[in-house]
Symmetry: C2
């Protein structure tokens, strides 16, 4: 099975003096990289985690708060210095465009590659990108500025040939592609061999949802049914519930509730507030999330999760 | 004597994967901080070096290349998150303004303090800032885009009272301020005591010049006469002289020559190219500079030079 790995480059909140770096995560899939959010210093983290920026073709931005965006100018400039030629696609709320435009016109007049901006409507759940093996959907969130999360869903592949069966029936190689696609086979004597005897089901598809920053939204759960990995922000402890509501963030317990309602396989929590400034407090957050959803882990820089 | 310290936050060139961080240096003087250049990650370095951003009132930008500017959005935003109320002054080439404007309008709509931009004419040597104790002058440089360095010169203070002499003459306290300012004193019998007997000279003034990025410019030397610390870029080894000229940078040997011609007290070299990727190569650069000017040292992150 091909790789489907989520790399955590930064999982802090807007607190540059804290234990964590500003937000950025990367999905590695079939040799390609897809980034969500790009806080200051992201280009350095990419290098340190051995992720080559020439494999990165698409960046998805959740919202225009600096701790999710301020790594973009440096990353784009460095790609230029390295002589990149491939297109770079940046998807995000339309509010991002003036900042991107100014960055490009002031600093990147001789850029060697095109940067294409795609405005994402943060108010609807819709397909924002697809290729042969992946679909990416927006997830409307509820924050102080227009914000959406992203759901990455691997597309279903073809069925797998059961070679011992196809060999026994002397099925020629040229027929295998249509059998992978679901066709039956007719023997010389007219007997029909149903596809289910010749193949096994396609590999299960994998999925990752990125949900940050947001007030808890129970209506996300139906959109996330059965997701393999849910990253959900957990800025505050339950004791700070009032502050979470006030600042349009979630508590760890609320993140756990969404994972439970969505029947997620695994929950990863991050975006810890400046108040969560010790490992002990992070573990308290973890306990609160696990009380709702046991299969939870804490995000951390350098962590990679293979799905 | 009050502090006059230069802190090196980053001294690399535009190579995020290198041994060094992008450009930023800070002068600490009488409790205030003055920054020159602000590469990506500068706010984190400030914190790590124990420099409080609420002491920072003025930032001077040499030119609009990303490795000298991309820390500005994060630094300004964080000042806002921390509830700063004091004005922040940013001095730099006028080309910087559209990037600053976009950053402020997209990310900082509720900023708690004013950011004032002052365009610097990079083509002339002129006073760009002064207060009671400091003057800052622009230094026209020769790079691929409009660029200037900055010369920070402490203003001469008052003379120091020689208490044993003023006590012997029974000079009252209220008279000491005018004596510090240079006045003589007349005794009750009409005898004049000249100021030189009552005071010692003011503390020597200190100065720091920041010269990056530029092709070597011999006509800088007269502007830098006797500077206590000259920071001069030294991107290349002498073997790469052609490449230095081509990219509008200097070699270590050229930096040493300027320090010698300027009769500087001390030279600090930095902005090493991506080719200078080992301590051995840095020491080769150092040797080349020292052949011209012995009192040279290599810049490094975390280094502080007290003048």
């Amino acid at each position: 099975m091909e790789e489907f790995k989520v790399h955590i480059l930064g999982c802090g909140s807007a607190n540059p003096l804290g234990r964590h770096l500003p937000a950025s995560q990367v999905l590695g899939m079939r040799g390609k990289l897809f980034m969500v959010d790009c806080g200051e210093g992201t280009q350095t983290r990419l290098a340190r985690q051995g992720l080559h920026m020439n494999r990165l073709g698409h960046i998805f931005i959740s919202h225009v708060h600096g701790d999710h965006c301020f790594g973009l100018p440096g990353l784009v400039s460095t790609m230029g210095l390295l002589g990149r030629s491939a297109q770079l696609h940046i998807h995000g709320p339309r509010e991002l465009q003036p900042f991107l435009d100014a960055t490009l016109s002031v600093f990147c007049q001789q850029l060697t590659f095109p940067v294409l901006f795609h405005a994402v409507d943060t108010t609807v759940h819709t397909l924002v990108y697809e290729d042969r093996s992946l679909q990416v959907y927006s997830l409307p969130l509820n924050h102080r500025v227009p914000t959406c999360g992203y759901l990455f869903r691997e597309r279903e592949g073809q069925r797998h040939i059961n070679r011992s069966v196809t060999d026994a029936y002397d099925i020629p190689l040229f027929a295998l592609n249509s059998i992978k696609a679901g066709a039956d086979w007719t023997l010389p004597d007219g007997t029909l061999v149903p596809n289910e005897r010749l193949t096994t089901p396609p590999s299960p598809t994998r999925s990752w949802a990125y949900v940050s920053d947001t007030r808890v939204k129970d209506d996300l759960a139906p959109l996330l049914q059965g997701v393999d990995l849910l990253y959900h922000e957990a800025t505050f402890l339950q004791a700070d519930l009032f502050r979470a509501k006030q600042t349009y963030h979630s508590t760890a317990s609320e993140a756990g509730r969404i994972a439970r309602m969505a029947h997620a396989r695994r929950l990863c929590i991050g975006h810890f507030s400046a108040r969560i400034n010790t490992p002990q407090l992070e573990h308290l957050l973890l306990s609160e999330a696990q009380a709702e959803f046991p299969h939870t882990l804490l995000a951390d820089e350098g962590l990679t999760l293979s799905l």
